[in-house]
């Protein structure tokens, strides 16, 4: 039997080729019995994909709508705006354009309007118009002809909802200032108008020629001067606009064209869709942890099949590919279902958001969005499934002959780490593409990573602690439930991550909402003023005060306001800063108009944090002003800087003497810039009065009295504003809740999938327990306790994460105090626990109901 060993050579046989056709066939065959379960894996990503496809579709349709309707949004080819009468240089420019174009002029300001029929009064946005604006789109009116007809006579076009509110009809009279206008028609829609802008300040169009007679335009009044141009030749408008822009900005004017309108509107809504897509992405990531875990269990169950295949000569890479193909296939199917659901969702999103949108958007299917969503779904499913799939390569054929064979890790196998790196890069890359801001993308990625790490670490710690400090003397049922947390094939880590992340997300949303509501409540507190009167001329101050006294109303504040702009900072002039492209000069400082007050003391909401507050200018040298600290920081203004204001044509050099911390919450007048007494007293100014009216009836009588005597004075009824804000917040809240709901439902799907997967592993043990005499009650108790432990710990961890995030958001984003509310937290913990135990028990029902013999015979 001896063999001549010299004949034996180390021969490396030809490796069998890869055979993609056979691999595909095997993947298909092997999936037969597991397709419904495979679909359960990807059900976790369906919701995430659906929300992303819906949001991308919305974004694309919105983009198309803005591109198609930008001209109608602006109503003209070019619009020039100024907050003061045009300077001679700009007037000359406007005059020269009038010769080569159709031209319209508008004055835009807030004023009270009085419905004569029933003495109802309301704050409106008056648009006094001359010319045939809009040149694109229309002033949609009822009757349609009224959109044109009101311009030629003493007639007005009044917001339709406002007319309904005051029971006004066409032909009724309204009083604006001192002039009475007949209502020519109902204004249904104006260029650029949204549902909310109309609710906050309804529009009333008047002919411009009557505006002087109203007496509303006085020195210091806040009026916007707008000029619309419609050119016969539009080819070079953008170039021309770029050329004149610096000259206009230097004269405190702004220019808008159809292109800038597109960019600005697009930018606003891109931000919205980016934010929403990040929320969708979180749902997707949460789903992917579910995929990873489900594939992990799936691979474990396939160990035997893989080992047999390996015995038959299948290479490790081939075995890996068979299951990779299954995951790609099921990822594709899941993404397709998600995309289909996304298309359905997308039909509703424009409807939900319609009040915020200035354009009509279609609900057409965006195939780009569908493609993006599906590609993302497949990529991310595969990426997360790779981690458990890689372990297939380590399954030895020995598993076919030895049940308990432990696979060994390949030496120098760093592929798992590469997958982690790929996942991190993918999350970062996706976030970066969404928000185009590398720092925020990094923070988001780190935030998500930290949350996952913390939850994983706590899960591991829990398992270690239960094992280390196992309560051996406790009741058997409790011991068995606790042991389930750490024994082989446990789902502790996955369930902790899924439940914890879901809870964290819900609690963050809750905390943000309560922060916002808290701020609103602060504003509407019982001792807070609820009526603001503004545009009070200095000569009317006494009279307005007297009317308030007649109604026994308190004067919470009566402050002067002077409008001004910054002309220079430390010698750098506005024109220079506004044309600077280096980004070093604070352009924002020069761009805005400042409403400034003067007084000799600070209010309760102010605190000096740097420098010294000088209440009265002593007349020697430049006056010392105080600036709000965050605003100064943002605009690179420091103590001791020389700031020259342009007070309606008069230069006013000052020194920044102090920086103040201002509490912007609460209902009071707050200012970025505060002057001392003794400087601005003779400047053109108006006054603002804050008071509190006890009832709606007194409010109406007081407002009528003011409007009758002082028609130029505008009144803001804060109760009305609060109601509108509440509406706004509840609508925004609905959108946020809707998106959060997607994440939460993903969490629930992941959870159900995880519990369902673990059910397969539990059947045998449960049946053995039953064979050994355990009652159904005991088995239910074990399962319920196990899920209770998991649920409570995950919920507490999630809430702690949510609290940390809420505190950071309160402190740094909303700049307000963070108040801990215990009751909602306790309710949330209990609800999460109940849900966890409930789903756990429902899923386990099947196990308990099956007969032990049936299970043992089938060798599950």
């Amino acid at each position: 039997m001896n063999q001549n060993t010299s004949q034996i050579v180390t021969h490396h046989p030809n490796k069998n080729s890869f055979r993609p056709g056979w691999l595909l066939r095997m993947a298909w065959r092997d999936s037969r019995r597991s397709r419904s379960r495979l679909l359960l894996f990807v059900s976790s990503v369906i919701v995430g994909i659906a929300s992303l496809v819906a949001i991308y579709s919305l974004g694309n349709n919105l983009n198309d709508a803005i591109n198609n309707q930008a001209a109608a949004l602006l109503g003209a080819d070019v619009k020039i705006t100024s907050n003061q009468p045009l300077t001679p240089a700009i007037q000359q420019l406007v005059d020269s354009l009038r010769h080569s174009s159709n031209y319209s002029e508008e004055r835009n300001f807030a004023s009270m309007v009085l419905f004569k029929k029933n003495n109802g009064i309301h704050l409106v946005q008056v648009r006094a118009l001359q010319g045939s604006f809009p040149y694109y789109g229309a002033l949609e009116a009822d009757p349609a002809a009224a959109g044109i007809a009101f311009r030629t006579q003493q007639r007005a076009l009044v917001d339709a909802t406002l007319m309904l509110q005051y029971g006004a009809n066409i032909g009724d009279s309204i009083q604006v200032g001192t002039v009475t206008f007949a209502i020519a028609g109902k204004l249904l829609n104006a260029p650029g108008q949204t549902g909310f802008s109309a609710a906050i300040a309804p529009i009333v169009y008047l002919p411009l020629q009557y505006i002087q007679q109203t007496g509303l335009l006085q020195k210091g009044s806040r009026v916007s001067y707008q000029y619309y141009f419609h050119f016969k030749q539009t080819a070079n408008i953008e170039k021309w606009a770029e050329a004149v822009r610096p000259r206009l900005e230097a004269n405190d004017c702004a220019i808008e064209t159809v292109e800038t309108q597109k960019e600005n509107t697009g930018r606003t809504f891109t931000d919205l869709t980016r934010f929403l897509s990040l929320v969708g992405f979180i749902a997707l990531l949460l789903g992917c942890t579910g995929v990873a875990s489900a594939v992990h269990v799936y691979v474990k169950e396939k160990v035997n099949t893989i080992a047999v295949l390996r015995c038959l000569g299948v290479k490790a890479s081939q075995a890996f590919t068979i299951f990779l193909i299954q995951i790609i296939g099921i990822g594709l199917l899941g993404s397709a279902i998600g995309a289909a659901l996304g298309i359905v969702l997308q039909q509703f999103l424009p409807f939900v958001l319609s009040d915020f949108l200035p354009v009509h958007i279609s609900t057409a299917i965006s195939w780009t969005a569908v493609g993006q969503g599906m590609l993302l779904g497949v990529l991310i499913s595969v990426l997360f499934a790779l981690l458990p799939l890689l372990s297939i390569r380590n399954i030895s054929p020995l598993n076919a002959i030895r049940v308990a064979y432990e696979p060994t890790q390949r030496k120098n196998d760093f592929s798992g780490w590469w997958v982690y790196v790929l996942i991190v890069l993918f999350v970062y890359g996706f976030t970066y593409v969404q928000i185009q801001e590398w720092k925020q993308a990094l923070q988001f990625t780190i935030g998500i990573g930290m949350a996952l790490l913390v939850l994983t670490a706590i899960a591991r710690l829990l398992m270690w602690m239960v094992r280390r400090f196992f309560p051996s003397s406790w009741n058997y049922v409790v011991r068995q439930a606790l042991a389930n947390l750490y024994r082989p094939n446990n789902q502790t880590t996955l369930l902790m991550v899924a439940i914890g992340l879901g809870t964290a997300f819900i609690s963050i949303l809750f905390f943000v909402q309560s922060i916002l509501m808290n701020r609103l409540n602060l504003s509407s507190g019982t001792n807070q003023p609820n009526i603001v009167l503004f545009d009070i001329q200095s000569s009317q101050k006494q009279g307005v005060g007297n009317v308030a006294a007649t109604y026994h109303l308190p004067v919470n504040a009566f402050v002067p306001v002077v409008n001004m702009r910054v002309a220079a900072l430390n010698g750098i002039k506005a024109a220079q800063a506004l044309t600077d492209t280096s980004g070093k000069l604070p352009r924002g400082l020069f761009r805005r108009e400042y409403r400034v007050t003067y007084r000799d003391s600070l209010t309760a909401s102010e605190k000096i944090v740097a420098g010294k507050w000088v209440g009265v200018a002593n007349g020697n040298g430049l006056p010392y002003i105080s600036m709000e600290e965050n605003f100064a920081k943002r605009n690179k203004v420091h103590l001791g800087d020389t700031l020259t204001f342009n007070v309606q044509g008069v230069p006013m050099p000052t020194i920044v003497g102090s920086l103040r911390q201002v509490n912007w919450g609460g209902m009071q007048t707050n200012f970025l810039v505060l002057f001392p007494k003794g400087v601005l007293e003779s400047a053109p100014q108006f006054w603002v009065l804050l008071t509190k009216v006890p009832t709606q009836q007194v409010s109406a009588q007081f407002q009528q009295a003011i409007v009758q005597q002082f028609p130029n004075v505008s009144i803001i009824d804060l109760a009305l504003v609060l109601q509108i804000l509440n509406d706004l917040i509840s609508k925004i809240g609905f959108v946020i809740r809707f998106m959060a709901g997607l994440s939460i439902s993903t969490g629930i799907v992941v959870f159900i999938a995880s519990v369902f997967m673990s059910k397969y592993q539990r059947i045998r043990e449960t049946v053995l327990l039953r064979t050994l005499g355990a009652s159904r009650k005991q088995i239910f108790a074990i399962i319920a306790l196990e899920y209770f432990f998991l649920g409570i710990l995950a919920a507490i961890t999630g809430i702690l994460l949510g609290l940390a995030a809420g505190w950071v958001l309160a402190k740094y984003t909303f700049e307000t105090a963070f108040h801990l509310q215990l009751l909602p937290i306790i309710i949330l913990v209990l609800m999460v626990c109940l849900l966890t135990v409930g789903i756990g028990l429902i899923n386990s029902c099947g196990i308990v109901k099956r007969s032990p013999l049936e299970v043992l015979r089938n060798e599950v």
Partner: protein, 231 residues
């Protein structure tokens, strides 16, 4: 006669914590092509480990194994897989059919893997040979234990292996079915001229092979040629 399998001073150790556990020590034997041999011994004597090493499922810790003229100890996993596919057949105690594949598809796998032609036709022939021509479309769960093992035998012979390893092939079957399976196995083996290596507890079954190697404590205790040469 050509030597199909040759082991020289083969040892296998496992690490358990700080301790090294020797499962097999100084195993040397060879098997000629077309012969039958069985490895017997008490539980824990290293039978299955030895089978795994001989079949190229694992690497020895020491010594050398030559299977079909090729040294196994230096081959990587993929090369071993190719050898298994080309020269080796397996029969397992618990049948190890893939539950998601039909009986016919289970038999087709080794042939498809080799990229052979007329896979279905040849598999159907094998199915017929094991007497289950009408059960090809059934899944393993729909077959009895004996039927499953017959499918496993058909699969093992599908790629016309040079050597067939059978690990307790009747361990999960009743006496009557066992006899039928053993007859089928030996008949097919004789017909195809394959070398058969059996691992079993069953002395009666072992005595049907031409040679019996008895293991004890990881070493060869005896190596006996039996009288059953007619097989």
């Amino acid at each position: 006669m050509e030597t199909i399998l040759q082991l020289q001073q083969v040892g296998k150790t496992y690490k358990s914590g700080n301790q090294t556990l020797a499962v097999l020590e100084h195993i040397s034997f060879s098997a000629e092509a077309g012969t039958t041999l069985s490895i017997i011994g008490p539980s824990g004597s290293g039978k299955t480990t030895l089978l795994g090493l001989c079949a190229g499922l694992d690497h020895p810790s020491s010594g050398s194994i030559v299977l079909h003229q090729q040294r196994l100890e230096n081959l990587d996993e993929d090369q071993l897989a190719a050898i298994r596919n080309q020269y080796v057949g397996f029969i397992f105690q618990n049948f190890q059919l893939m539950p998601t594949l039909t009986a016919l598809e289970n038999i087709m796998v080794p042939l498809e893997l080799r990229g052979e032609k007329q896979v279905k036709k040849r598999s159907l022939e094998l199915l017929d040979k094991v007497g289950l021509a009408d059960r090809g479309h059934h899944y393993p769960a729909q077959l009895s234990g004996g039927e499953q093992q017959r499918i496993a035998i058909a699969r093992a012979f599908a790629n016309q292996p040079a050597i067939l390893f059978a690990d307790e092939p009747t361990g999960n079957l009743d006496a009557e079915t066992s006899e039928m399976i053993v007859n089928l196995l030996f008949n097919l083996n004789k017909e195809s001229g394959t070398t058969l290596v059996l691992v079993t507890h069953d002395i009666e079954l072992a005595s049907k092979t031409q040679r019996i190697i008895r293991l004890k404590g990881g070493k060869i205790e005896s190596d006996v040629v039996t009288a059953m040469v007619e097989h």
